[in-house]
């Protein structure tokens, strides 16, 4: 039940969820925007690192995520 394939699916879904967070409509509203003033001095707090992590995932992983999603969708359609 907790196999490796399930783990891959779960991480793919979670990465998708992080990737589709909208910068201006959502993250800015709750104060997690990337360029807000409070972050300039302090790069080591947990919140700053979390924001960096989220923005890194969104920047770097969009295109590989598209490719991986297409592969997984085709796989799920063909093989059930």
């Amino acid at each position: 039940m907790f196999g490796f394939g399930t783990l891959l699916y779960v991480t793919l879904l979670l990465l998708n969820a992080v990737a589709i967070l909208n910068e201006e409509r959502f993250l800015a509203r709750i104060g997690w925007a990337r360029n807000s003033a409070e972050l300039y001095g302090d790069t080591e707090s947990v919140k700053a690192k979390l924001i960096n992590l989220i923005s890194a995932v969104r920047t770097l992983m969009r295109i590989p995520l598209i490719a991986t999603n297409v592969v997984v969708i085709v796989y799920a359609l063909v093989l059930g």
Partner: protein
């Protein structure tokens, strides 16, 4: 036939080892297997056995049939071996194949070296018997361990280079016990399912995949928290894998009890070994995660957060052991 037996002694002549990863091609195997019997007749004894169809099967085994040589006229392989030794072009071809094999092996080594440092891996597998026994005792009876301090390795100038290898330092994490633990866990689950009568061979694969999934999940979680809490080089990636793999030792002990012991015994063993593992993890990771206050200057440490983090790592071991204890039972 005395000359015949004195020559060989019943063992196949081994081809020279070119490193652990180079497969011997089929022709070379045959050449070395038949090398000591260049021109002999097959003995007419009662131990005649048919020649194998695939030559790869001959190499690691010392079967009695190799005593009978492949003669020139008995099988097609005999003529092939003859031609190999007499033919110059074939010899050159085989040398070329050997060189190509070596070049490929070096190429693979370099590529692998970029992703996984072999020297570091060897450091983690450098264990001795005493180390393994002490570590197992520390996992199962952690209160008996006197000191949890890890010794630092120093180079010639006295600088701290890393940590001492497991052979010299009982508290250094290794990867031998986790790997063995994983394999033993898969076999133990297979054993239990087999005794219950519902075994299918693919269950071994499912179990291995599940165990690997638990380890990967835990390592990823710890790595992410380490990034968030600025835990840098004190806790290496392979250290995390090693500490994550130590739980298999206690899991095997509990999971072997589960089908055959009364439920209270299983759960009390679960609690005891779970707390033992928690104690082990806390004591082992304390030096890495929570620096002593004298050695920290100018770095934002968040001591309380790290203590919470350590506690969370330790307590989730219960969850992982519980996950690993689930197997398909008879319905």
């Amino acid at each position: 036939m005395s000359h015949f037996q004195g020559q060989m002694g019943g063992q196949p002549q081994n081809p020279p080892m070119r490193g652990a990863f180079s497969p011997i091609s089929a022709e070379q195997q045959q050449q070395f297997a038949y090398n000591s019997y260049p021109n002999q007749q097959p003995p007419q004894n009662a131990y005649s056995q048919p020649q194998p169809t695939y030559p790869q099967a001959q190499y690691p085994q010392q079967q009695p049939f190799v005593q009978q040589p492949v003669a020139n006229q008995s099988t097609p392989y005999g003529m092939f071996a003859q031609n190999l030794q007499n033919n110059q072009a074939a010899q050159i071809g085989m040398q070329f194949a050997g060189n190509a094999m070596n070049a490929m092996q070096e190429n693979v080594q370099q590529n692998v070296e970029r992703y996984v440092s072999m020297r570091q891996l060897k450091h983690y597998f450098d264990v001795s018997n005493i180390y393994v026994l002490s570590k197992l005792r520390a996992l199962v009876f952690p209160w008996m361990q006197k000191s949890w301090h890890r010794y630092a390795e120093r180079d010639q100038t006295g600088q701290v280079v890393g940590y001492k290898s497991p052979r010299e330092d009982v508290n250094s994490p290794d990867l031998y016990i986790p790997v063995m633990g994983l394999v033993s866990y898969v076999i133990a689950i297979g054993l239990i399912i087999g005794r219950l009568g519902v075994f299918h061979p693919e269950d071994l694969g499912y179990t291995a995949s599940s165990a690997l999934g638990v380890i990967v999940f835990e390592v990823l979680l710890i790595k992410m928290f380490c990034y968030l809490l600025n835990v840098g080089s004190e806790l290496q990636f392979l250290d995390i894998v090693a500490f994550s793999g130590y739980k298999f030792v206690t899991t095997i002990l509990v999971v072997l009890l589960k089908p055959w012991a009364p439920w209270w015994m299983t759960w009390s063993a679960f609690l005891y070994f779970g707390f033992a593992l928690v104690f082990f993890m806390i004591r082992s990771l304390r030096h890495a995660l929570i620096p002593e206050s004298s050695s920290v200057t100018g770095v934002n440490v968040h001591r309380k957060r790290r203590i919470h983090f350590l506690f969370v790592i330790a307590m989730t071991q219960f969850l992982y052991i519980w996950i690993l204890m689930q197997y398909k039972s008879s319905n």
